[in-house]
Symmetry: C2
Subunit: 357 residues, 2 copies
DNA sequence: CTGAAAGCGCTTACAG
DNA sequence: CTGAAAGCGCTTACAG
């Protein structure tokens, strides 16, 4: 009444070289359940140190690595975090990515790369990433005004943290990690003031960018503190890119009339814009910093190699990535809004800023 | 004799809003197996068009997305590809990443970010990524001489393709996708020759880089075709970075004696090196292109914004990413060695190159 | 505290 | 061709 004999080898033998928990348990002569508990450091386990060691040794000897699919299916988590960026080519966000990646790795998690546009426009990608249990949470690069509501919708089903941008009003369940923007531009402005500049212009980010607004606030407040102001005619909006910076500078300079006063220094909304400003100014025959000083937000490796090297203020981008991941891993359901004021912005004074002529 | 009643709701009801295949099958009034087959477009299915539609409609109506962990556990694949890069901050490799990411998405796969150093030095990461069924395959950024054997070892257990570098001798089971390096530098050299330069120098990559060697080959062959040569004293090695380029230029220029001949043009091993060369030359008081022309391999968005803008040749980086993913997805076990000669390199002549003075 | 058993949600031989 | 059932490899209530 035993039925046909079971094909034991097919059940027991590791397939394709994959060692299973059952193999470890057999080698250590304990039950699968106990092996699982020891390996997962279950505090309730009271097995003797000797037994525990037998399990650990067996796992090591066999090179056991848990099957992640099986584990995920059981515990309903998969150790993956979606990192959804808008523009992979920006060196600014890479530092953030590095920080996030390293922190995830430290927690045995990995980062899955997503694209903002694809996430928001491609329904398949959206479904898989958001509803498909693909990732345990999402880190979304902020600053996309049009998508505020969509991100809020995503956050309802999946822990989500927006990085590098303050959350919008409708995103009440969205966590965020943002740097202290006004502090950065305040520092830049004070640097220019200390050099003797009294009229400072701004090539800002896009008109509807909250980040851009906060950076402007820092400038206005630093100027206000010494009785100066940011004149409307000294400010233009631009894309967060070198092309934007170029266009912004050209627009700004077109307002300058020979013989009349104009700003002696410009702040760029970010260092990509700064690169564009530097290039455009040179092509218009202006010398930097003799004719105009230029300073920008965000420091990357490029800035010191530019001619002239670009003065910047660095924000804790890497830390933002770290904190975002930590937030997702430790408090996925808390809608926390973190403004990183530590470490504080750091000024990198370089050749692009000098006293006015 | 029925035992206690089963808690039906706990079994049937979707948990946490997750719709299961069983829910779709129930809604469409078919078996789970048939629902699975219809949804996976099993060609053996002969169900009436009407039945098929019922399944598809039910899935759509319920917003069904397969549980990826369950599916992975069954089919022993998880739709993830590890992208292991060395230096996330290089804009050069980002284009490759973008191509890989997009191609993966087109195949319902995602990219998991890894770090070369971590993979090779951190045993935990290695085990999880390589042995843990985390990813279906690995794309590794090439050019790490020290790790040739290690990558060969990885490829024995996991489909692996090295991108942007030719495979090393010991990597017999490793696939690779590399651009046509000599074609790129040949094009750059011919551009400089056509401007009238007859003595051309090279700030190459690291001494042991195969990529660097191939790029040098292109220069040598283009020079040889017109009876010229690359003089040993006109070549230095450098890291693949702006800092490397700076150091390389300084070393090269230190060999130049006033009143004697020196190269009138320099080729940079890549555009990061090129940025460093540009900056260092300017800081030594040399005008580019008047005193020396500079051209580099790889085009990125930065180059046109530099002052002067940097002449480059672009290689099909994005396509490399695409092909690498396609290779992994369609022929994971073939150890293919692809040299992408299509699309061919494209010259971007800019302000950093001009006829010699 | 530990083990046997159930079950996570799928796919796919297998039998009909 | 289709359905019932087994099973992928884990974790964890549950009972002992």
């Amino acid at each position: 009444m035993d039925g046909p004999p079971l094909p034991e080898r097919a059940i027991r033998a590791p397939r394709g070289g994959a060692v299973r928990l059952a193999d470890v348990a057999a080698a250590a002569e304990v039950s699968i359940a106990l092996a699982s508990r020891v390996l997962n450091a279950d505090p309730a386990v009271r097995a003797s140190a000797e037994t525990r060691k037998r399990v650990l040794d067996a796992a090591a000897a066999l090179g056991y690595v848990p099957n992640i699919a099986a584990k995920s299916l059981r515990i309903r988590r998969n150790g993956l975090i979606g990192l959804v960026v808008h523009d992979l080519s920006s060196p600014i966000h890479l530092e953030l990515m590095q920080g996030a990646r390293a922190e995830a790795a430290a927690h045995n998690s990995f980062l899955v790369l997503g694209d903002v546009d694809e996430l928001l426009n491609d329904d398949d990608v959206f479904k898989v990433l958001v509803n498909g249990n693909r990732v345990d949470g999402l880190i979304v690069q902020g600053g996309h005004a049009e998508f505020g509501q969509r991100i809020a919708d995503i956050a309802r089903v999946l822990p989500t943290v927006v990085v590098n941008a303050p959350p919008r009003a409708e995103q009440d369940r969205v966590s965020s990690v943002a740097p202290d923007e006004p502090a950065a531009t305040r520092m830049l402005t004070e640097h220019l003031l200390s050099l003797g500049h009294t009229r400072i212009g701004l090539v800002s980010g896009p008109r509807d960018s909250m980040t851009g607004r906060l950076r402007e606030e820092g400038i206005v407040s630093a100027l206000g503190a010494v009785g100066l102001e940011l004149r409307p005619e000294d400010r233009v909006h631009a894309d967060w890119s070198a092309n934007g910076g170029r266009a912004g500078f050209i627009e700004l300079a077109s307002r300058w009339r020979a013989g009349t006063e104009r700003p002696t220094a410009l702040i760029a909304g970010n260092s990509l814009i700064g690169i564009g400003v530097l290039g455009a100014a040179a092509r218009q025959g202006l010398s930097i910093p003799q004719d105009v000083s230029v300073a920008a937000v965000h420091d990357t490796w490029i800035n010191e190699h530019l001619v002239p090297s670009l003065t910047t203020v660095s924000l804790p981008l890497r830390e933002m990535g770290v904190v975002a991941v930590r937030q997702l891993l430790t408090a996925p359901d808390a809608a926390s809004r973190i403004v990183l004021s530590e470490p504080p912005p750091v000024l990198h004074a370089r050749d692009s800023t000098a006293p006015p002529a």
